[in-house]
Assembly symmetry: C3
Homo-oligomer: 436 residues x 3
């Protein structure tokens, strides 16, 4: 029995149960319900919130929740034989990550030694898992569930430190988290991917691609992310007109981004055709890039310019940059998170510097915005590299090259009807079935 099989059999369930039990103990010690009594509670956003009814943000929370579990989960189902892992492991990591994130973020903002769970804290807990899910995209198909649980713990812990520095210490603006979630998650994941470089996959892998219906499943993820991104960027904005502004900016940035992503996809592809990879991803870059500025007075047309540019950068990145990263830098970025979250996240950070410099937001300085971007990238690259080294340790059950991008190494996969019927006639599916 190969090592990675043994690993799943024993290491995965033991690790999962131990982590959950530790988490429950920490919850028993530290976590209580929100009681509605005023207290200093800070958030990703550094604005002072007026007193709110406890359930006011709940619809926003549910939109974010859908993005995390349906959006990220299905976006990654584009691979032909990795859909179970995409949506299933996404669920696993996010379910654990939100518990861990609530603790890690909560420890910075205790109230009489307790973390009081409000809807806003649940939104922030969901947000913290987004970093992991972005990084997951970079290493999709090449990592075991055990490795990914390790990454979840480390990444969310490091994220919470950087978030605290950016928001509380630097006092920077990042309401839609272009820097502290998107750029952070992307470069963290890319650093991990670099550490886990697989020379044998230099020329691709037969399962590293889509089939017709897997691309349609992925569009479920894309469209949900696209629709609810205004909620992501505005959920923790100051209530009222500022929150509306964050919604409006994101709505129009995304709309403009669709046009540029489609135009550039057609322009760079063979015979002017559209490429599903671009449509699934680059149409979302406008949501990422407008994040930092979402609650600033950039006006709708300013948001649209950011979206237009993000769609162009992202599509060009998929076409020309991703192959270079893989061949020259040894960074095999399965989902192209560099193009969807990395570069648009940096664009968002830069736009934020400019917007603050131009006085589009009260509070914060351009210097602090720049420091926030640098901090996010620094923590991501260093944290990701260290995490990648830890994940490379030989006992986490990393899948062998030939089993990458294949659910059947970690899942019971049903045999296809046609396969059954054809198996008598010709046996060329047998290598797929004999996995593990």
């Amino acid at each position: 029995m190969p090592a990675y099989a043994t690993n799943m059999r024993l290491k995965f369930p033991i690790l999962a149960l131990i982590l959950e039990i530790i988490t429950i103990i920490l919850f028993a010690m530290f976590v209580v319900y929100e009681d509605g009594k005023p207290a200093h509670h800070a958030t990703l956003d550094n604005s002072t919130h007026e007193e709110l009814l406890p359930m006011n943000l709940y619809p926003m929370f549910q939109d974010v929740h859908v993005m995390i579990f349906i959006g990220f989960g299905f976006l990654m189902t584009f691979l032909k034989r990795y859909g179970f892992s995409s949506v299933g492991v996404n669920l696993l990591l996010a379910a654990f990550g939100l518990q861990w994130g609530l603790l890690m973020q909560g420890f910075w903002h205790m109230d009489n030694g307790k973390i009081k769970v409000s809807v806003e804290k649940m939104i922030n807990a969901d947000f913290s898992t987004a970093t992991v899910l972005i990084s997951f995209g970079a290493v999709l198909g090449k990592t075991s569930p055990v490795q990914l649980l390790i990454m979840t713990i480390l990444e969310i812990t490091i994220f919470s430190i950087n978030e605290h520095i950016v928001v509380q210490i630097l006092g920077a603006n990042d309401v839609g988290a272009s820097m502290i979630i998107h750029a952070f998650g992307a470069y963290f994941g890319l650093a991990v991917a670099r550490m886990l470089y697989r020379p044998a996959l230099r020329n691709g892998h037969e399962n590293d691609g889509s089939v017709y219906h897997s691309d349609l499943f992925a569009m479920i993820g894309t469209v949900y992310l696209w629709m609810f991104w205004p909620s992501f960027n505005s959920a923790i904005a100051e209530p009222g007109l500022t929150q509306l502004k964050a919604v409006v900016n994101t709505y129009f940035s995304l709309a403009a981004c669709v046009l540029s992503a489609y135009a550039i996809s057609s322009l760079v592809e063979h015979k002017g055709k559209l490429d599903m990879v671009h449509i699934q991803n680059a149409t979302l870059a406008g949501g990422v890039a407008v994040g930092t500025c979402a609650d600033m007075d950039i006006e709708p047309f300013g948001a649209m310019l950011i979206g237009l540019l993000a769609g162009i950068i992202s599509t060009v990145g998929f076409k020309y940059l991703t192959p270079i990263l893989a061949s020259n830098l040894g960074i095999q970025d399965t989902c192209g998170v560099h193009n969807l979250h990395g570069m648009p996240g940096i664009l968002g950070g830069l736009a934020g510097i400019v917007a603050v410099a131009l006085g589009k937001k009260e509070g914060g300085t351009a210097t602090m915005q720049a420091a926030a971007l640098a901090s996010s990238l620094g923590f991501a690259l260093v944290g990701g590299a260290i995490t990648g080294l830890i994940m490379k340790l030989p006992f986490w059950g990393q899948p062998p090259d030939q089993n990458c991008f294949d659910d059947s190494i970690y899942w019971e996969v049903p045999e296809e009807e046609d396969e059954n019927e054809e198996s008598l006639a010709h046996g060329d599916h047998s290598k797929n079935k004999a996995e593990v």
Copy 2:
């Protein structure tokens, strides 16, 4: 022409139209709009609600609505050739059931001889259909639409009686309906399944299984149920901090449940692999099990312990108990509702007894909680057995054994592209196409 074909041709449309016309007549007699004037209106929850704006609960309603129509509907699409029936008949039963449920529940709470429709009544109407959809899971693939419409009428009527006894007479707590919806729906369905036992399917059926993409469709259902379960458990809770508590408890119970479901699935499966059946279902058991206690002061860690336990029980049930029920008791539970709704529902009821005994909720006594659980199980088993006997009558067009789990008996099913192309070469698909 076989009997079940004749049945669909005449009996189904006639029954559907007659039921709808009777329903419209009853609506004309009894149902009016909510007018905002105060009146005694009781709900699943026995707490007194403060006066609300009429649309306040609407986002919660829509979350529940998505659970009923997308969640339950797609969860059952896991079968390889039964997706049309799963999502289509789910829509049919729920669309009829919500009308019938509004009447059956409303008759207990008339206001000047009228049922006034509010958003809360719509939530409760949707809830009442959930019992039917749970039972549908137990008999999925083995019943005709006509049989299922009969089941819908009877089950919702019996549900409404038990609900009235539990909430109004016993004064028991069951805000998330672990007992009156989940345990009730599961054991009702199991009793029906027992009555409809098919010895010929003892050794399985070739269509009683999934294919790769049908499992992904099912995950759409799973994830939507998982995400919106906090709304299910809190929709009719007392507004404000109590409702927040129900959200928080469910959120964390579900998160903990994911970890234990994954861990146990890997532990009990061949070579440590994960089983999609477990992931699709057992990850939701935490939502079921925390239902009764959702609005009680069990603290987040208490909710997590319930979720952890529910995930374990549910996964173990799928692995070991379902086969025993089928082989020893003659209960062929297609979707394993005993594991997702039955045992976790009882766990929820028991947790409620303990929590009330420990003083975690004002109002109610442990004895009344226990009586509520017993009442729900009693009505379910007796009501389900009688309903099953009625459904067994020979003129409802029950499908023959060989046509079970196959859409083509009730639906025009498109011929697959490959089939067309291959049909010249070899004719072994012909039996599928010649159905009915």
Copy 3:
């Protein structure tokens, strides 16, 4: 290289980018954030709204947003080889259309020379795209992205003129837009389809049909439209009890419609089977038909009667009328929008005339309601015919007959696994792969 390939290569990206840049310039000149200061702002609904918190309608907006992007997009994925275009071009047209719609609608209601973007304006912008997406259904599979962008500009412009006439000048009621969106969009699209008549497709096309899983993807669209239609019909109703009334009427109309659609489908089909085309579409006709009356005192049973009738008309239309339109009138209506939006939209308009005549709504007269219906149909037919003629111009890259209903003309389509494996044995897929 054929003309339509050249077209995509150059014309599509240039057109898309130019349109977006023009739109951004117009936004820079005219569009600002809502500032909360009172101003005259009119809507599809002519009622006077009380002052609202700026984000109150946001959950309603998101429901409508899901209908536009998931609902319409996935509803059209039923075609076996046209899913990328269905959901992808739907995203493109709606993303551009919402920007254009905001301008076209906003120009009628400027405030100091500016269009102030509120959530209500975003809902109306989304609404305006619905007309295009309905018309898209009539010409699905037979038009190029360039043609469809042209249609988007023209149709939304004409829609905005008719909307202004109906709501502001005639003072007619159409809260759920049976007339100004559904009937308008359908007959506009049918007029376009007539202009683009393809005699060579008289006997069908091998790709103009579904496969099993494409029908399931389409059900995602159906169920989302069905669930959120109460939001569509009530989003811009007067807040409070009137909005609740619109929700309740739509909820029950849709429920009744499901029963009649299923019944009639079974009644008219071979051996009493259900037809997925009917279920995917006719179950929604109740939402269309109750639109105009949604906020009127028609009582729940009145709404149900409208829904019941709409389900019958729609199903019968699919079965008997669509073939006649195609063979006798040269109108090839791919998705059957005449049955889902056309006839039910007219039914809605007629029901509105009757309801206003019966005094079920304060404000408006039956004459004005009739004039509104006539205006909507007139603008649709004339506008659609002119638009169709423009779309027929030879330089928009309309696809040749044999490439209709096939994504591979505009998209990079992954080669299927089976195809690869079987290609050695027999080469009969080669014609599909060599497209364009």
